[in-house]
Amino acid sequence: MNTTLVYHRPTTLDEAVRLLAPGVVVLAGGTVVNAGTRPTGDVLVDLQALDLSGIDAPTAATLVVGATTRLSAVATDARVPSWLRDLARRELPSSLRTLATVGGTVIAGGPHSVLLAGLLACDAVVTLVGANGSGEVALADLLEELATQGQTTQPRIITSIRLDIGGDANAQSTARTTADVPIVACVVRRTPKGLRTTMSGVAGTVVIVDDVEALNPPADFRGSTEYRRHLARVLQARAITELGVGQ
């Protein structure tokens, strides 16, 4: 019975940061925060008026995606590589994709998120603002922190995600049906520096995979640990083959 909920819609980042306090819930699209039971925090800070939406391409190989950019915008922006657009489309169906934001997807940190696997493959760097100022953190590190510490740390606001989109990439997945959330999804991105493999469904969060054999995926009703590890091997090999590596 949440009768004490307070809703804020700050219009500047400074105002938003001033509102941050333990227990405050940052609200972006709402597809996670508002789903199921009502917001559990007493204070909601809605980011929609902060002008954090949009995609910039400062260089041919770099995209800066505003935190409140909708997944539907990512899925349709021609500057986004087609493989990443497909992952944004695949992340959620049409009635949620228009609400969910890139920043919210990062904070939710879902272990089965195909879009996160794509962002991680792009060496994503996340810009955060909090009471202690702003800073950048690698997406991989942030996901690790979220997976281990949850949302218990001081609330912060993601303002943007910077992506390296150079090179090419291939995404592979296995699911019960073609649109189902993959049991395991794998993205292999090739750059002059080499190959980077990221995966969903093989750990408590989406991860960079250096050694498939070292994975110890958590089991659930859709896939056992060993089966997920097997999928990881198969899907990585396929993605590499599709990229023409070694041919």
């Binding site: 597809t31 169906p93 009635s95 019960r176 896939g223 089966y227």
Partner: protein
């Protein structure tokens, strides 16, 4: 707080609580087209346009919408005859069935076409991906979007009607399959109709009439159970068990009762203990009777503990949290094969349960049937040249209608209890709920408004007693809507079963003995345990001729959520096992599978012997039954079905190694599988429908039927039957159904009975009215023989060509002379149960390295007699196949170590979306079934029967691996393939 929203072009200011969702605000403001399907936004039933973008409104706070534009379908058309092009397109092609999510589908189309006037099919399917539709296969929705796009581009459109195809057979004998022959290229949304020469041409019946409820659904009119607001309404919530099995030692409700805003708390300590069975079935309900409104024991996670009525849902939830329950936690069992083992906890140890076969062994029922004596069964097996035995397992799945269970109860001015409820069985609900509430049947009125899908889940008295108890306790209206997790955990599901078929075959391939042993779980309560498993026996042992048959079924209690009625009703389980078993026998014998099955499947004139030994009126001893009384098959279009569907699927490709193993995709194998399907049409001697029809001043007619349209198109079909008899267009028929005060009795919507039983009642009532019209017309026209009068084109015609309008006849009868309300009633019970037949084919691809099975195409050709409306009939087939597809490849209840369901949301559970749907083709093969209204048989359930075995058989053909357990999830298939290698 105040929010400013431009709602349907009007700038408005609303006062909201910060916790209010946009869904709640919109419904409060009368936008009833925006509907609840879940709390997670997954169903899309609540979708609106937010600044032109499709968005699920239950995951948007009203506060977030401040300053934005919101559009709903209420803003699209001002008048009922002024639909916008998208609404009109959906109505024209039958793009929705129940229409619960019609508004969302229409808005999704608007959002797409605003940006993209010429979308591809992939883009259309992606745009619709956010609106789950459990009733259709999305194929007609996609067609509607294409049609709307054409209209908006200024292009002409053709009337949407079936494609008439020439028959490939003489209707009886098979024809040789012509490899490479192609079926006519027609849009997949259009049913292919193969007419029969013995079906006369009719004016309304057999025509693709628009659904009678299409316009109101497209406009989002308030028509569902929850689309009502009553002054002083209270909101109910149910406290549910966290334990799979526990005794309630005590309940302390004092804190809950003391919470401001709480009006009543009900539980076992303050509710009379009246035993009942919740299944919506004819009186007397089959045993066991093992439920009470609130018990001192819980038998599955999600079982009822207590219920609260309060000023708001939030207060009711908080009150539930304040109820202190002291449990004695007991051990539990989930697997039906372990339920009867020694040492397993007894689930129904109460002393007063009625009709439990052996409670100490958790054996709810032991069902047996056989067509010959045990000695003759053994003799038949001994005589067989080959004996085959296989065991199969089918899982627990749920109907998942997008509209959850909803009931609203209040006392009317006479202090009678009114139940406005989403039910398939209003009359059964009234009869079952009355004693639980201490009322008589006459004290209760059950009103079934529009129902947003049921599929058997609502063939149950599930929550009506709860709102009844609370309304009687508070004297206030009480509303209860189950949330999605409650739907999964506490409504109804399909019975999981373990089935073993044993079959003896002679040296010529003819079946000589067949035995089916089943262990079925009825979960925590018996409800439909008896009848569903009877249908398993019936369907498992009816499809193929065999002189010696035996059925032995243990129906056991377990601590899983309760199985009940689910479209197909025991047949999908049986037919999965049977069609896999027959496939395996054919392969073992080296026989071509269709040829082997054809040799044995029932044909016109063959007797359905096992029918006499099953069901409520079954006979135990074969010696008591005269074989001459076995009902015969009177019509079958199976050969035409097989011929049409084989051609459509391209059956020959399965024998082409380069197709099965494509060189450019080395990890892919392809296969095509077949399943022969036979179902029933209603329950003979038991299912009863009633109808009354009255004539109005203008020559229109009110048809009042006890039937229940769940989105099936029943109202349309029944209206077409009445219109055909009365010689009027469908527009002149006003349907009103499912109201225990206002309509005649009908058992309700189940057992594929509505068209056949309720339709026959409508026809009988219309025949009475027709005769009254003829009598008056003859007098007014000066014709001596009323029989010679004909009705058509809204007029009564004399043999000499003179005529009088029905309006003039009505005015004469009501206002002028020899005053009479022209009206008629009809009741119908059938002594027959004519089986529809179908050929189901599935084309699949399997990834041999991952185990992922992708169903590429489903083709079903159905003999449903005369399809009264081929568009709605084909919609039933499409939607049924899709439910069956989920059964085959992905849907399954999963539990943790405490017995809690871990996938009680649509995402992890997964039902098919528009963007992962395979191609479909539907053929309707006409036969003239004389016992049905205008030749009709059933169509609603047979589409659920064949998909799983067809997919399994395709998988077998593609890989050589037989997998006898569904669903064919990637890991299960991977392990099966891997164990072979």
């Amino acid at each position: 707080m105040n929010v400013n929203i431009t709602l349907n072009d009007v700038a408005q200011n609303f006062t909201v609580d910060p916790a209010d969702t946009l869904l709640e605000l919109l419904r409060r403001e009368g936008c009833f087209s925006v509907r609840y399907g879940s709390d997670s936004g997954e169903t899309g039933a609540s979708a609106i346009l937010l600044d032109g973008r499709l968005a699920s409104s239950e995951v948007i706070l009203a506060a977030q919408a401040d300053g934005h534009r919101v559009d709903t379908v209420e803003g699209l058309s001002a008048k009922r005859d002024d639909l916008d092009p998208v609404q009109a397109a959906f109505v024209a092609v039958g793009g929705f069935q129940s229409g619960y999510s019609a508004g969302a589908l229409i808005l999704a189309t608007h959002a797409l076409l605003a940006d993209n006037p010429s979308p591809t099919e992939t883009e259309i399917r992606d745009a619709l991906s956010g609106v789950l539709d459990r009733e259709t296969a999305y194929v007609k929705a996609v067609e509607a979007v294409k049609r709307a796009a054409s209209v908006l581009r200024g292009e002409a459109t053709e009337p949407f009607r079936p494609a008439i195809l020439a028959p490939l057979t003489d209707g009886v004998r098979p024809v040789a399959y012509e490899a490479g022959a192609t079926a006519p290229n027609v849009s997949p949304a259009i049913p292919r109709l193969i007419p029969s020469t013995d079906v006369p041409d009719m004016a309304v019946v057999g025509k693709p009439e628009l659904k009678v409820d299409g316009v109101k659904l497209a406009r989002g009119n308030p028509t569902f159970a929850d689309d009502v607001e009553l002054r002083g309404m209270l909101h109910a919530k149910v406290l549910r068990s966290p334990h799979a099995h526990a005794r309630i030692l005590d309940i302390d409700d004092s804190a809950a009762v003391a919470l401001p805003g709480v009006h009543a708390v009900k539980h076992y300590k303050n509710t009379p203990r009246v035993l009942y069975a919740s299944g919506g079935q004819s009186w007397p309900n089959p045993h066991p009777w093992d439920q009470v409104s609130f018990d001192n024991k819980v038998r599955h996670v999600g079982d009822r503990v207590a219920a609260v009525a309060a000023e708001s849902p939030a207060i009711a939830e908080e009150a539930c949290r304040l109820i202190k329950v002291t449990y004695e936690v007991l051990s539990f069992v989930l697997d039906e094969n372990e339920a009867m083992a020694d040492g397993v906890a007894v689930i129904h140890d109460e002393a007063d349960a009625v009709g439990v076969h052996d409670a100490s062994r958790n054996l709810a029922l032991h069902i047996k049937a056989q067509t010959v004596s045990d000695a003759n069964i053994e003799k038949a097996f001994a005589s067989a040249a080959h004996v085959f035995e296989n065991t199969y397992r089918v899982q627990q799945v749920q109907q998942t209608p997008i509209e959850p269970h909803v009931s609203v109860a209040w006392l009317d001015e006479d202090e009678r209890l009114i139940l406005r409820t989403a039910t398939q069985v209003p009359f059964h609900v009234r009869r079952i709920v009355a004693p639980l509430l201490g009322l008589q049947v006459k004290d209760i009125r059950v009103m079934k408004p529009r129902v947003g899908g049921g599929f058997g889940a609502k063939q149950e008295m599930l929550i009506e007693d709860i709102v009844g108890h609370l309304a009687l306790a508070t004297k206030r209206p009480v509303r209860l809507v189950l949330d999605r997790e409650e739907e999964f955990a506490s409504s109804r599901t399909r019975h999981p079963q373990t089935l073993t078929f044993k079959t003896g075959v002679d040296k010529n391939g003819k079946l000589v003995a067949q035995q089916l042993n089943v262990t079925a779980s009825t979960g925590a309560y018996g409800t439909h345990g008896f009848t569903v498993q009877n249908v398993t026996g019936l369907r498992g042992l009816s499809s193929y001729n065999c002189p010696a048959k035996k059925f032995d079924c243990h129906v056991v209690y377990t601590n899983i959520p309760v199985p009940g009625a689910f479209r197909g009703y025991g047949a999908p389980q049986a037919e999965f096992a049977l069609e896999c078993h027959m496939e395996d026998i054919a392969r073992s014998l080296g026989r071509e599978v269709i040829d082997f099955k054809r040799q044995n499947w029932v044909k016109v004139g063959d007797k359905l012997d096992i029918v006499m030994f099953l069901g409520e009126r079954g006979t135990l001893d074969p010696a008591d039954v005269d074989p001459a009384s076995f009902p015969p098959v009177m019509t079958s279009g199976i050969e035409e079905c097989v011929a049409q569907a084989m051609r459509a699927i391209g059956w020959h490709r399965r024998d082409d190694p380069s197709w099965v193993a494509p060189a450019d995709r080395p990890h892919i194998r392809r296969g095509i599988g077949f399943a022969f399907c036979m179902h029933g049409t209603a329950i003979p001697f038991l299912d009863m429908g009633g109808c009354s029809i009255k004539m109005n001043d203008d020559g229109s007619f009110n048809v009042m039927s006890g039937a229940a349209d769940l989105g099936t198109g029943a109202d349309t079909v029944l209206g077409q039957i009445a219109a055909e008899v009365l010689g009027v267009p469908l527009d002149d028929i006003i349907m009103y159904t499912g109201d225990t005060d206002m309509t005649p009795f009908d058992v309700g919507a189940y057992a594929s009975s509505t068209t056949y039983i309720s339709g026959s009642a409508v026809k009988k009532a219309a025949d009475v009215v027709r005769w009254r019209i003829k009598l008056r017309a003859a007098r007014l026209l000066g014709v001596e023989e009323p029989c010679s009068i004909e009705l058509h084109d809204r007029r009564a015609w004399a043999p000499d060509g003179r005529s009088i309008s029905l309006e003039d006849i009505a005015l004469n009868s009501l206002h002028t002379e020899d005053h009479e309300q022209i009206m008629g009633t009809g009741s119908h019970v059938s002594h027959e149960c004519p089986p529809p037949f179908a050929a189901q084919f599935a084309e699949i691809e399997v990834d041999t390295e991952t185990g992922q099975v992708t169903v590429v195409k489903l083709v079903m050709a159905v003999d449903c007699g005369v399809a009264i409306n081929p568009i709605t009939a084909s919609g039933q087939v499409e939607g049924g196949m899709f439910q069956a597809l989920g059964y085959a490849v992905c849907e399954e209840f999963a539990f943790d170590e405490t017995g809690r369901m871990v996938n009680a949301e649509f995402g992890p559970y997964w039902i098919f979306r528009a963007d992962d749907a395979p191609a479909t083709e539907v053929f309707l093969v006409q036969t003239m079934e004389d016992s049905g209204p205008f030749g009709a048989k059933a169509v609603a359930e047979i589409p659920t029967d064949g998909v799983a075995p067809a997919v399994r058989n395709a998988l077998l053909q593609a890989t050589g691996v037989a997998i006898n357990q569904i669903p064919f999830t990637p890991e299960r298939v991977y392990h099966a393939l891997n164990s072979r290698s």
